[in-house]
Amino acid sequence: MRITSTNAAFLMLGPVAFFVLFFLAPFSVLVGESFMRPDGGWTLANYTAVLGDAYYWGALLNTLLIAFWVSVVCFLLGYPLAYYTIFHARSVWVRRLIYVLLVTPLFTSNIVRAFGWIVILGRRGIVNESLLSIGLIETPLDILYSKLSIITGLAYILLPVMVLSVCSVLQGVDRSLIEAARDLGARPSRAFLAVTFPLSLPGVVAGSIIVFALSVSAYVIPSILSGGREMVTPILIFQQYTATFRPDIGATLSVVLLAVTLLLIGAYLLIFERRVRMAG
């Protein structure tokens, strides 16, 4: 459809106005607040307070460490499933079942999914009860309310994102390249390592970035599955607004979280692109 410039401007008016008013402006207010003194002047005091405090650093490192492990787990579990779905699951119905099982959890609230894990991992949960009944352990294990349970819960929530991201790239991989490698005598494992896997890397990179970014900003899972024993930055941010009433510190923590996430993603992309250029 041919659209004149006047019509394009008319169509864009609403979306741009909304975006500026309710996305750009709120973010600017947030960033502004982080540089604001209580009396209204500008200051860096919030940043020196946040960056000079070992407690905030500890929470941030904890957040990043959890997000790192979540990305690793999502890759290790998600890649085989994506590969299987695209290359081995021949029947349309099997593929359909897999996609339904990938999307249904995505359509369910984080709380409901965390609740499922409480039932499974809790002190009187399925895992402990079955281990107790077969006599492998004598007292229930404290699986819940640890870093491990946060990683399990987050990896569970973000796994579909990784799988679908890898699937979308694997689906576009030119199969004749894989067949050529096989015809030239490469075993399936070698054809995979030399052809399929490198071609699927963009999906892995995109998927792991989304998974990492979403784990870093996750609030619900850490607060439900940590039992207050593990501190992460999103919980700190929320507390500043609701418990300690320091929106200036909350805003500063938000900006720091955003900046660190973007920096790490940027560095990751840079390393990845250099490797691709070297390989090419």
Partner: protein, 278 residues
């Protein structure tokens, strides 16, 4: 002989991948199955496998007005946010797909950025902004945050449908004298309808399940169902919670079936969730 060993090794490799995949699929399904199962237990506490079968916890949930109000608020909010997302997202996608202009790539990236930005930061930003303007912790603050959050889904699926569509019929209509509006409503919209429907469903459900944006702008009187569940789970873990949670799972399943019927789950899942690099 070596050949045979290799064939066996390759076979085992395939079996291993299939094995891992089905374990992962089970891992995806397990928590949801557990929640649905325990919502029918006759015991006063959570029990898996459930004992007996009863609808008691569903009745308790339906007869609790605070849960019903939260359901109504969430449904209304999600419907309103989806309607707004369609009004904003379809025109934007149409321009992105059919018109190149300086900065169009940057603008579309900006519109899609709420998908990767920390939602907790979006929630905090909306709260501070709304406080400054005097509408903090109101329906409209929730609405503004949710529209920002869900519009990218509509843009993404609509854009995917528009780019996959033949433009010759549009051009023929315009050549025969149809106005742009006539062309859009009579020629374009019928062809991109499945993508629009899928986008609307993704938008609806992502508003419906959101906690991070909502929790900043909620009050005791203004709680969406996920926020209500979040506050409830801190103090009570009981079969009523399981019944409410199971009800939200049924809604997720209905949405998935609706998407499968409109565009096919495979296409919708890949177009909407996966990253679009073009």
């Amino acid at each position: 002989m070596r050949n045979m060993q290799q064939r066996i090794a390759d076979r085992l490799g395939r079996l291993l991948i299939a094995g891992i995949s089905w374990v992962v699929v089970a891992y995806l399904a397990l928590p949801l199955i557990v929640v649905v199962a325990i919502s029918f237990t006759t015991t006063e506490y959570l029990r898996f496998p459930p004992q007996g079968a009863t609808f008691r916890w569903y009745w308790r949930f339906i007869s609790d007005p605070t849960f019903v109000e939260a359901f109504v608020l969430s449904g209304g909010l999600a419907a309103a946010a989806t309607a707004a997302a369609l009004l904003l997202g379809i025109p934007a996608a149409l321009v992105f797909a059919r018109k190149r202009f300086p900065g169009s790539a940057a603008l579309s990236a900006a519109f899609l950025s709420p998908l990767v930005l920390p939602t907790i930061v979006l929630g905090a930003a909306i709260l501070q902004y709304a406080s400054a303007l005097g509408f903090a912790r109101s329906f409209w603050a929730l609405f503004a945050g949710h529209v920002v959050l869900v519009t990218p889904y509509v843009i993404r699926t609509t854009l995917a449908s528009l780019s996959g569509m033949e433009t010759t019929t549009e051009e023929a209509a315009q050549d025969l004298g149809a106005t742009p509006a006539e062309t859009f409503f009579l020629v374009t919209l019928p062809q991109i309808k499945p993508g629009v429907i899928a986008g609307a469903l993704f938008a609806f459900i992502n508003s419906w399940i959101n906690v991070e944006v909502s929790i900043f702008n909620s009050t005791a009187q203004l709680e969406t169902i996920p926020v209500k569940l979040f506050n409830y789970i801190q103090f009570n873990i009981d079969p009523t919670l399981a019944a409410v949670s199971a009800a939200t799972i049924y809604i997720a399943i209905i949405a998935v079936v609706a998407i499968d019927l409109s565009v096919g789950i495979e296409k919708a899942a890949i177009n909407t969730t996966a990253d679009t690099r073009n």
